[in-house]
Subunit: 270 residues, 2 copies
């Protein structure tokens, strides 16, 4: 395997760009190819059968581009399809749930870990399984927080509406003694300041946040290091989308944290 081959990153849409952003910050010498399946977003409301079918077609497209590793920057796909992809692909496959769960376990001292995510991710039990699989005794309290997704996409990330929404979602966790909270959805890092401020008020001032995007980037760096697959640079990013939605540049730039007008964007058919 060529260490200078690109890293594939895919998501149902543009939310996974927060993961691409974290990878770019941690591994600035790597070439990334990001595929957002914007024609079929969102996956979160699809059946597992459909999600697996879509995930396979995304992974196969990236594999044909000669990637050296695949990051599934989508909680829904990570929860449902990761095992299928690991069997089928010849390159290492990393999801966002296992790194997020490990970061959450490391962050809690009470042993009570909250996870906020979409309804589908919570219902899948993926975080509970991931915490159990690292032989941790930490107890997981899942809380669906679906409205934070459109709030992040709209850019309503400060002010009363997101504050009241976060408050309403975190209140049920207050009785559980939770002292660490995993941001279990790629959209949530945009709301991190509100989640942190409201969380410390509702759940206590010692609350720690664990960001699945950052944790995934850190595990990817370790994996590449261990397999001697670190690229020599220069790093870069190519964006592939299956549809060019309205406000693409605005929303993509917000998630990526840089102006996508400066980046190569191509539309592909899967």
């Amino acid at each position: 395997m060529d260490p200078n081959a690109p890293i594939g990153v895919f998501d149902s849409g543009l939310g996974g760009l927060t993961v691409a952003r974290a990878i770019r910050a941690a591994l600035p010498d790597e070439q990334l190819v990001y595929l957002g399946d914007t024609a079929r977003v969102p996956y979160g409301t699809r059946s597992a059968h459909t999600v697996i079918r879509y995930a396979r077609s995304c992974a196969a497209h990236l594999e044909r581009r000669g990637i050296k590793a695949l990051v599934v920057a989508c909680n829904t796909v990570s929860a449902v399809a990761l095992d299928f992809l690991r069997v089928e692909l010849d390159v290492p496959v990393l999801g966002v749930i296992e790194p997020g769960a490990r970061a959450g376990v490391a962050a809690t001292r009470t042993g009570k870990l909250g996870v906020i995510a979409t309804r589908g991710t919570i219902a899948s039990g993926a975080y509970i399984r991931a915490v159990a699989s690292i032989r941790s005794r930490v107890e997981v309290f899942g809380q669906p927080a679906p409205l934070l997704v459109p709030l992040a996409e709209e850019g309503w990330i400060t002010g009363e509406v997101p504050e009241r929404a976060v408050e309403r979602y975190l209140e049920p966790l207050a009785a559980q003694g939770v002292d660490a909270l995993v941001l279990g959805c790629t959209h949530y890092p945009l709301l991190r300041p509100v989640i942190e401020a409201v969380g410390q008020r509702v759940l206590g001032p010692s609350l720690s946040l664990a960001d699945g995007a950052e944790a995934t980037a850190a595990e990817l760096a370790e994996l590449l290091e261990a397999r001697e697959l670190r690229a020599a640079g220069p790093g870069g990013l190519e964006l592939l989308v299956t549809d060019l939605p309205d406000r693409f540049a605005e929303v993509a730039s917000r998630f990526l944290g840089e102006d996508v007008e400066e980046i190569d964007v191509h539309q592909v058919d899967l």
Copy 2:
């Protein structure tokens, strides 16, 4: 054409069930076949090319079931694809935008009409064109209110979060002298009490709301009457979906205003 043939109703997802609900209330003797393209929802963020392609496949499926009329219970499709469908189908085709615009024009006395809808519907200019096409001098002020869609789907239809969101959306209309407001998205009737209460505070106590779903049902009744296509009964409803999403029964029941467990639901491939 057989007057006892069913009426086809389609939408990108489940929001159009508010239109089916209004039709059932206005025309209780009619058989409805509702098709929700839940595998490809939402259309609002897709390109016009993609929306037209999807709309054609939905309409063709319903036409094969022998419908006597087609109601496009989706603002995005009504804005983008109605002319194509009218050319291609042999049955009358009704959208939700023209009836909503007519109801709005009838409701305003100041001649300043607000329209709240998704970003795509507002950007399409469809309500401005619809108002102009009825030779009205009413001025249209479009305001995207995209977060009201997930709020309706989540069932967050009372309390501070929807109140603050509606307030934030309506405030820009306050300076325009708007005295009537079209609910230009199939999801919004669920939030009607909040929109009415906040609207009367922000836009003035004489504010009238025009509901596109009710207006469409009323125009459909006139159309069937004029063409002698009223069914003899008994009425009924069959639900077709292209995917069975999570929480289908809960969300569908909320939009339809009755328990979908009591209704025939079939999954179809388009």
